[in-house]
Point group: C2
Chain length 333, copies 2
């Protein structure tokens, strides 16, 4: 009887699960950043191994029990040969029958065992893929905070920060986002002014935000959703929705019919955003079937079973989802 290892390696955390051929998830593990692009291959490999060990321990299994495995990983197309990761896994006593696959393909497979369809992820970044015959067939955006990721959490968070700065600077309309952002970074919203006549709160805000890495502005995205009555917040969310619709439109093809799997916090914030994505599919002649997923872990499990020549049908797929939900609900020791 074989056991399979699935890993969802993200920029913030890396999750692993061990499962049986019938899709029954037995144990989970978590570790730090497993993104080889942002953290380097050494740290990514260590995170994958640490998460795998956690999953094995939790399942009461040994490394040698693993038949095969898959890690869903950003940058898979660049770091895809995976020799750097296999070496580390073998050193840990785990099978070298292990592949790296696109994190976006894993996200799609978390929501569907169908061979065709779409995934749209809008978390810190934003990217869409078309999946055909179980493989990534087209990609749009995901070009990073400086050049793309239009409509992402970073994009929204930066808009919040820019508009609040402009409002405090007398260059833009007053907005309830100002109070929300100042509260978030712990700056008092006083009427005090500096020697140059500008609000002290503006100077403090600018100083605080330049101390962050640019990408950290993504943490302010929830503020735009927390002020649904604010015209500026509405405009930011509307523009983000337009951008995400354009990204999805770029990969939708009438001859590829299948579900749209939505991942990332932005797409679960407002019903209207998901509705707009359904409209994009409909107008391209693709029946809109939408599913939200928390990450790519279940999908990595689907891909790990397939790598082990297991046919993932509806029964197996549902068992992965249900058992994974159960063991995830148990807080880690």
């Amino acid at each position: 009887m074989g056991y399979y290892l699935a890993v969802d390696a993200g920029g913030t955390s890396t999750r692993a699960v061990v499962l049986r051929a019938d899709g029954h998830a037995l144990g989970c593990g978590v570790a730090g950043s497993g993104n080889p692009v942002s953290s380097g291959t050494d740290q990514a490999a260590q995170a994958v191994v640490a998460a795998a060990r956690g999953a094995l321990d939790s399942a009461g299994l040994r490394p040698t029990d693993i038949t095969s495995g898959v890690a869903g990983m950003a940058g898979a197309s660049v770091f895809g040969s995976g020799e750097w990761l296999r070496e580390e896994l073998v050193r840990a006593g785990i099978s070298d029958h292990f592949d790296i696959r696109s994190d976006l393909l894993a996200t799609f497979c978390s929501g569907s065992f169908a061979p065709h369809g779409y995934a749209l992820v809008a978390g810190t970044g934003a990217v869409a893929v078309r999946v055909r015959g179980g493989e990534v067939d087209a990609v749009a955006d995901g070009l990073g905070w400086l050049l793309g990721d239009a409509g992402s959490g970073y994009w929204i968070g930066q808009q919040v920060a820019r508009h609040v700065s402009a409002a405090l600077d007398g260059r833009g309309p007053a907005t309830t986002l100002t109070r929300l952002l100042l509260d978030d970074v712990g700056i008092a919203a006083t009427t005090e002014r500096d020697a140059d006549g500008r609000p002290t709160a503006l100077r403090k805000l600018v100083e605080a935000l330049y101390r962050l890495r640019p990408i950290d502005l993504a943490r302010f995205a929830p503020l735009a959703f927390a002020a649904p009555d604010d015209p500026l917040a509405q405009r930011i969310v509307a523009e983000a929705t337009d951008a995400l619709a354009a990204t999805l439109t770029a990969v939708v093809a009438p001859h590829v019919t299948g579900p749209l799997v939505l991942g990332g916090s932005v797409l679960s914030r407002q019903r209207a955003i998901a509705d707009r994505m359904a409209a994009v599919l409909r107008s391209a002649g693709v029946p809109p079937v939408l599913r939200h997923v928390p990450d790519g872990l279940a999908g990595a499990a689907v891909l790990a079973l397939r790598l082990g020549a297991v046919d993932v049908d509806e029964e197996v797929f549902e068992r992965i989802a249900a058992t994974l939900d159960t063991i995830r609900a148990v807080p880690a020791a």
Copy 2:
């Protein structure tokens, strides 16, 4: 007979001039970045001293000939006490009767010896000031590439880069900017595609642009002005103009009447942009008198003479401008 030292310390280069009390400029010098914010106070002080030495050599004067001096400098409000710079000047044998003043005040004084008025600078960054009684009375924007500098060269350059990336990615309209940007960074505009179906030129462009510092995207701003028939380029320039108008509006006050001094490459690119700024003044009840200046060097000279208790009248002001133009026209040895 006294001699005066004026320095315009910028992020790219530092320029110095030595002049007589009657405004006659005798010699110029140039050195590297003198911006204490981006380069640190040590390097900034060294650049100021190197540029001053160049100016003294060129004028055939000794350090001890200098009566007083002024450096116009970004970040003057933060690094304004200037003890760090005075120490270095004294070590070089130059007078300690030396002040640091706002680079924006220096820009204003490059265009006018009037006590009141406005300056708007849109180079890599974008910022506006109101000048009243010879001092900065209000400031808007200048909040840097991440949070502000709306309508600046950085802002325009990033828009060019983002829109071209979107066009190559199938998320935005085709634009002549694509060819201009690819040519600029030396990437062939082929129809070749990568394994993920995306244009090879897009991947190469993204790789090339992430190798730059974000602020370096400002170098692509001229492309938006080089494609006046392209609808996307038109939109970028129109949005930049709107943003600069908002920044100027934030400092214009009907009770402060005086010229508007324009600095930075963006404001000299299209007549329509300057016309729009004139309209901003007019609608606030301020008679629009506009002057373009290349930098803050002449203005630093005005401020240096004033620090030496010289009354800068029209005759002195015009002599500074005329003699500075003459010695600047001579290429450095």
